[in-house]
């Protein structure tokens, strides 16, 4: 579904690359965490998928298509196939919940009747039934993020990108959001989520791709937020970790 081939992204020629020779494949229907410290290149990775930025070298493929070959007037079509949510929700403050979600359908020309039918369904999926008429400022952070997720998936994209979606939320609310994302993933949507929330990653046990200074230093299935031993440029699999390491990594929650 998403493939990076030796992708390097340089913003500032005098600084180190934001992404450095990254090669990675994410399968259709997969749920992948992108972890790493601030500035490690997670957002850059997501932006390249959306063709918000161009790779300095290497190729990014989305649904089999090299995004570098998509002409600018067809970029909207690429983006219709990708939903995005952010840490700061980005709702329209003067529109209510229903209108915020409907907005994503209106701007691509969906008919009024389809909108009236689809929006309530999606709001139900994210657990916001009966809150259609609320304004964003009348919602908790978690509810606002649910609206944002509803808006991102209302056009049924094959891919959902989430850039630190729980960054502004408390742990319990965050878990609720993860439940929604998991549900969307179960429905067949490929989900890529950038985060540095270790509790969430450890709870979910999904694939973890770790970036450090733009380099992929780890790529493990059903993994924890940190690998057991500090890694430099190589990865170890979870099954190779000792019990003591596991215990330390999970903070004794196991």
């Amino acid at each position: 579904m998403i493939r990076f081939e030796n992708v390097t992204k340089v913003y500032d020629p005098n600084a180190r690359p934001a992404l450095d020779d990254v090669s990675l494949e994410i399968e259709r229907g997969e749920f992948t965490f992108l972890v790493g410290a601030s500035g490690s290149g997670k957002s850059t990775f997501l932006r390249l998928i959306l063709k918000e930025d161009r790779a300095t070298s290497g190729s990014v493929y989305v649904a089999g298509q090299n995004v570098a070959n998509i002409s600018s007037w067809r970029v909207p079509r690429l983006r219709r196939g990708i939903g995005v949510v952010f840490q700061d929700f980005r709702l329209l403050p003067q529109k209510n919940v229903f209108a915020n979600v409907a907005f994503a359908m209106q701007v691509i020309g969906k008919s009024r009747s389809i909108i009236r039918e689809t929006v309530p369904e999606v709001l139900k999926t994210v657990g916001l039934e009966g809150k259609e008429k609320r304004m964003p400022h009348e919602l908790s952070g978690g509810e606002q993020q649910r609206v944002a997720i509803a808006r991102a998936v209302v056009n049924r994209p094959g891919i959902l990108l989430a850039d630190e979606p729980t960054g502004n939320l408390d742990p319990i609310t965050s878990m609720g959001i993860m439940g929604v994302l998991d549900k969307i993933n179960q429905n067949g949507t490929t989900v890529v989520m950038a985060t540095h929330d270790d509790d969430i990653v450890n709870e979910m046990r999904k694939r973890v791709v770790e970036l450090r200074n733009g380099v992929v230093v780890r790529d493990e299935a059903k993994a924890l937020y940190t690998s057991m031993i500090p890694v430099v440029g190589e990865s170890r699999l979870l099954k190779d970790a000792s019990d003591e390491e596991l215990d330390r990594a999970t903070g004794g929650q196991q």
Partner: protein
């Protein structure tokens, strides 16, 4: 659906930027009024040329008692001198240039004068003796005025030879100058209008960056994202153009009403001629606003 959506966006954009939109309307209104005024002055000049050039005459004014010109040293024109001039006008050498001529006596001149200034107290202070008799000549080719002037101005009994066309030319030069000035002001104002539209669109794009950001992310086309902004500028400019057209129309009403009663012989341009100017103003305003908005958006609105 998409149309309804775009219209809604335009409406909210116009409302959100009301004061800027009003200023765009006013500036385009003023600048296009000057453009239209320049154009209509040109129309007025052409119309007056067409009307007057057929009617203008060369006049040979004859000496009266108070004449001071060199040819009038022997006092007022004599009957003999006058007949002599009449014969010269009939002679083949002169006749080939003129289509016809009339003699206007002092009595007729006084009568014309009284008619022309019937409302003015000046009539009472002028006597018949003070006005010159004249030959009024219609030229076949008005450009040949020089020949008549050379032939007659040194004849005894002739005070002066005057070409009414020259008086008109002076008026036209003045009107031309006025239309050039109007055009100059128009150009400056249009530059202001374009800069203002650019700023307005930029502010509008900035104030709605959250919406456009979301539109981009969910895959709205460039048209859907940009059109509301472009139309916002175009609509404001077209409203300005309509106001300008309306103003020019009022001016023609005034020309053909009050003013034409004062200048009975002047053929003023009609209100219908505004219909020629208005579409040009609307196209100019709308086109400039559209181009200015498009170029601004290319820089300030990522799509």
């Amino acid at each position: 659906m998409r149309l309804a959506f775009i219209l809604g966006e335009i409406g909210s954009g116009l409302r959100r930027n009301l004061s800027m939109v009003v200023s765009v309307i006013l500036v385009t209104f003023v600048s296009l009024t000057f453009v239209g005024a320049a154009g209509m002055l040109q129309m007025q000049i052409n119309q007056m040329k067409g009307y007057w050039y057929d009617k203008v005459q060369v006049a040979i004014f004859l000496c009266n008692e108070s004449s001071t010109a060199a040819g009038c040293a022997s006092g007022a024109v004599t009957d003999e001198q006058r007949d002599n001039l009449g014969k010269m006008l009939e002679s083949p050498a002169v006749k080939q240039y003129i289509s016809d001529f009339q003699f206007e006596s002092q009595a007729e001149a006084f009568q014309h004068f009284k008619d022309q200034f019937s409302n003015s107290p000046i009539v009472d202070s002028v006597t018949q003796d003070q006005l010159p008799a004249s030959f009024r000549i219609n030229m076949k080719d008005p450009e040949k005025y020089q020949i008549i002037s050379e032939t007659f101005s040194s004849q005894p009994g002739v005070e002066t030879v005057s070409d009414q066309r020259q008086v008109l030319e002076r008026i036209f030069v003045w009107m031309n100058g006025a239309s050039v000035v109007a055009m100059g002001i128009a150009v400056v104002m249009i530059v202001c209008a374009v800069l203002l539209i650019t700023t307005t669109i930029r502010l509008s794009a900035f104030s709605r960056r959250r919406e456009t950001g979301i539109m981009r992310l969910v895959g709205a086309s460039k048209t859907v994202i940009q059109l509301p902004f472009i139309l916002e500028g175009v609509i404001a400019a077209v409203v300005g153009a309509l106001l300008a057209s309306g103003t020019l129309w009022l001016v023609t009403l005034w020309l053909n009403g009050d003013l034409s009663r004062q200048f009975l012989n002047t053929p003023f341009i009609s209100s219908a001629q505004v219909l020629v100017v208005a579409p040009v103003l609307i196209a100019l305003g709308g086109g400039l606003a559209g181009i200015a908005s498009l170029l601004t958006l290319r820089r300030y609105l990522k799509v």
